[in-house]
């Protein structure tokens, strides 16, 4: 399985937590257990792919509380809820807040591993998206102010002549900026440039 993934288990029931960690370890995951939401928050979470297996009902802040808190902090680790008693209201609340799954104990191994797999997949996707956005951002940051002006106008669909007029520079100068910025952004054709711009719009919206 995913050797890099780190799975976090938050459950106040020591026995269940231990057993679950044992299972995850045997299934080839690296896993860490926490007795409460507080313990989890205090642990310096390494930036690794992974997911959070979260008990709903615990002393102190509940699993739902932790989920809400993570969302507010834009920490987007995928959450799989584990509960002793699944009541509909809690389930709906959890799923609406973006939980990957809501499982009732005792949990079938396949269901658990499947949920973990989906959570990790989501995490991978998220991480990839995050990386691309990051790269996009870095390339854009390499452009000079003038090159940036030109880029935005190209993406907005202006012709070179129009850009030269708008910026009050010569047609030739526009062409030089355009050659530079395409080189910096790593695109060869106008079509590629358009795609880059589209990806950026998706990533930053």
């Amino acid at each position: 399985m995913n050797r890099e993934a780190l799975i976090h288990v938050v459950d106040d029931d020591e026995s269940f937590r231990t057993s679950l960690l044992e299972l995850l370890t045997a299934a080839g995951f690296e896993a860490r257990g926490y007795a409460s939401t507080g313990d989890f928050l205090l642990d310096p979470t390494p930036d690794r792919p992974g997911c959070l297996l979260l008990d709903v009902r615990m002393p102190g802040p509940s699993g739902l509380d932790l989920q809400a808190s993570l969302l507010r902090q834009a920490k987007t680790i995928p959450v799989v809820f584990l509960t002793g008693h699944a009541d509909v209201t809690t389930g709906i609340r959890a799923m609406k807040a973006g939980a990957v799954d809501f499982l009732e104990k005792p949990i079938q191994r396949d269901a658990l591993l499947d949920a973990i797999a989906r959570a990790l997949e989501r995490d991978t996707g998220r991480r990839k998206a995050h990386d691309e956005a990051h790269r996009h951002h870095e390339r854009l940051a390499a452009l000079t102010t003038r090159e940036r002006d030109v880029f935005e106008r190209i993406v907005a669909g202006r012709l070179n002549k129009q850009i030269a007029d708008e910026l009050g520079i010569s047609l030739r100068t526009v062409k030089v900026h355009r050659a530079h910025l395409m080189e910096k952004l790593g695109v060869a054709t106008a079509a590629e440039l358009g795609r880059f711009a589209g990806e950026g719009r998706n990533l930053h919206d």
């Binding site: 026995s15 269940f16 299972l23 045997a26 009902r57 002393p59 008693h85 005792p106």
Partner: protein
């Protein structure tokens, strides 16, 4: 006016009558007291004489119009006989009664009558003579009596007596007839010998006459069972021992191996069985009646008298029993002496009263038993009803707690499944991780026990069961309840604090029912604080153990109880909850009171409600079996 007059007259009238009566009586005593001389043939102590005297004196006292003084004299025949004796007697009687002439002379038995005839002119001129106990045969063989000598003759019935004896002893083959040696005895012997042929067809008749008493007794003692003895008794045998006939019969009956019969009533009670006999007392009575008539002025010739004294079949009941004579063989008109009343006859009154008391008592006992049974049934019915209600209410509590219960059970189940899955994966990996597997198995077992423990507690709490009366530790029971309710409290974000004492708080009762009461109170408390701000969302349970009572207190920090609700709080169907049935506290109170305790509510000093459950502490705080739910 007239009634007053009559009332005052009446006492005076009575007084006059009384005076006349008294004066008349006094005159009678002085002038009219009659003298009756009774001349007995034999001695004073001969029983026949005693009976005659009794009959005569009683009858005379009852009948006579004149008071009569009865004097008794005894010729002492046959002990004293002869001319000299008679002369002495004559002189004595003449001098004694010279100034008190008898109005009537009674001669008892023939010798006395003979004596009277011989000396009447001398001693008692003019007075009428009444005879008693004189044989009819004697009278018949003598010249006709003078008109002023009257009486009812006696006819002894030895034949009838023997007939009766043979009827009562049908197996008898020998008839033994005993006689003495005095002239009187030989006279009887002659009479009986004349009768003997009448019985010889049926039995062998043997005469034992003139033996010495010792020899006679020996003969009697060796008789067979097929013998019947008849004797008129005797005065003297061939030895010098003297008897009255009665005494002689008594001595014979004592030694005889066969039943003894005789012709005289005086023999009854001596051991003789009985016979067809005239009663001496009846003879005395008859004589008394005649005397009474004569004293009242009747002429002797005008008296209508029976030809002969009737003979009465008489039997000594004790002897009848001794000789096996069945009651059915005793004719109805028989005079039965000495019948021993049966227990029933003797104690009938007592027996009836006792039986009545026993019956009454039995009735009372039955009634009480029935009543007790009815009451017990009613109690059982109430208990069943209470137990069913309690069960229903527990089920409803269980419904409310479903989430918590499921959580409690699924937690260990989840752990077990995870452990099992982990073990499977380890085994599939092919790597030898025996120690890890062992650890996992150990954990599986522990979690399994945990799950079953939860289920056991729940089942104990929810199961329908007959109420028990067992000692249990209240502190332990509360801890169990707290464990069960902690999840629920947490779910509703309420802090549940339980403070039990160190010492055992032993009470006797049904642990499940008491736990139900506590669950009820604690859930109520949780409900009460559910909508309070977080710092007031707590419930405290504590146990205080005193010498006689143990008190559990459940405190919440909610709104408290409205004063107008306090009095009705424990009433059935009273509820302040929107969905409440209003049975919880009512059942709680029923249960606590059935345990001899009490439950009450009040508002806390600052806030919230406080419920107290007080139970009687069990006597033995040590060896308490720890019942747990």
């Amino acid at each position: 006016m007239r009634p007053d007059l009559r009332a005052s007259c009446r006492p005076a009238l009575w007084l006059v009558v009384l005076c006349f009566a008294l004066s008349g009586r006094a005159a009678g005593v002085a002038n009219d007291a009659a003298t009756v001389l009774v001349l007995y043939t034999n001695g004073r102590l001969v029983p026949g004489n005693v009976e005659v005297e009794r009959g005569l004196s009683r009858t005379l006292a009852g009948l006579s119009s004149r008071p009569a003084h009865i004097f008794s004299e005894f010729l002492d025949f046959p002990e004293f006989t002869g001319a000299a004796h008679e002369l002495n007697l004559m002189r004595y009687l003449r001098e004694k009664y010279d100034r008190r002439r008898p109005d009537v002379l009674v001669a008892v038995a023939k010798e006395s009558l003979d004596f009277t005839f011989r000396h009447r002119a001398d001693l008692f001129p003019g007075g009428p003579v009444v005879h008693a106990a004189v044989f009819k045969s004697y009278l018949d063989s003598n010249p006709t009596l003078p008109a002023d000598v009257v009486g009812v003759p006696v006819e002894y019935d030895p034949a009838g007596t023997i007939e009766q004896a043979l009827r009562w002893h049908p197996s008898a083959r020998r008839l033994i007839i005993v006689n003495g040696a005095t002239p009187r005895d030989t006279e009887w012997e002659a009479q009986l010998k004349a009768l003997a042929p009448r019985f010889e067809e049926r039995v062998k008749v043997e005469f034992l006459s003139g033996l010495t008493t010792a020899a006679l007794h020996q003969r009697l003692a060796t008789l067979d069972a097929d013998c019947v003895v008849f004797t008129p008794g005797y005065y003297q045998g061939s030895d010098s021992v003297r008897f009255t006939p009665r005494d002689s019969v008594e001595a014979m009956a004592r030694v005889s191996a066969a039943p003894v019969y005789g012709p005289f009533s005086s023999l009854i009670g001596t051991g003789a069985v009985g016979g067809r006999i005239p009663s001496f007392e009846a003879m005395g009575q008859q004589a008394g009646q005649i005397v009474a008539h004569l004293l009242s002025g009747a002429a002797p010739a005008t008296l209508a008298l029976p030809q002969v004294m009737p003979n009465q079949l008489t039997i000594d009941w004790r002897q009848a029993q001794r000789w096996g004579i069945d009651d059915a063989q005793i004719p109805d008109d028989t005079m039965v002496h000495f019948r021993q009343p049966t227990l029933w006859e003797t104690y009938r009154g007592l027996a009836i009263a006792t039986a009545a008391v026993v019956l009454l008592q039995a009735g009372l006992i039955v009634a009480l038993l029935l009543e007790q049974r009815r009451r017990r049934r009613a109690e059982v019915a109430v208990q069943v009803q209470r137990s069913e209600l309690a069960h229903a209410s527990r089920l409803s509590v269980a419904g409310e707690l479903t989430a918590s219960i499921a959580h409690e059970i699924n937690q260990p189940l989840g752990a077990i499944l995870a452990s099992a899955d982990a073990a499977e994966l380890m085994l599939k990996s092919g790597v030898d991780r025996r120690e890890d597997l062992l650890r996992i198995v150990t954990r599986i077992r522990r979690d399994d026990l945990r799950a079953s423990d939860v289920i056991r507690k729940l089942r104990a709490l929810l199961a329908k069961h007959a109420p028990e009366r067992e000692p249990f530790d209240l502190g332990l029971a509360i801890s169990d309840v707290a464990k069960l309710l902690e999840a629920e409290a947490h779910r509703r974000e309420v802090t549940l604090e339980v403070q039990t004492t160190q010492a055992e708080a032993a009470v006797v009762g049904d642990v499940v029912q008491i736990q139900q009461v506590l669950i009820n109170l604690i859930i109520n408390a949780i409900d009460a604080v559910a909508d309070m701000p977080p710092d007031r969302r707590n419930v405290t349970v504590d146990v205080k153990s005193a010498a006689a009572a143990i008190t559990v207190t459940v405190r919440d920090r909610g709104h408290g109880i409205a004063p107008e609700h306090l009095p009705r709080l424990f009433d059935s169907f009273f509820s302040t909850k929107q969905r409440g049935m209003g049975l919880g506290l009512s059942i709680a109170r029923t249960i606590v009171e059935a345990h001899g305790g009490r439950v009450w509510a009040e508002n806390g000093p600052r806030e919230g409600a406080v419920f107290h459950v007080e139970l009687t502490a069990a006597a033995v705080p040590n060896s308490v079996s720890m019942a747990s739910a």
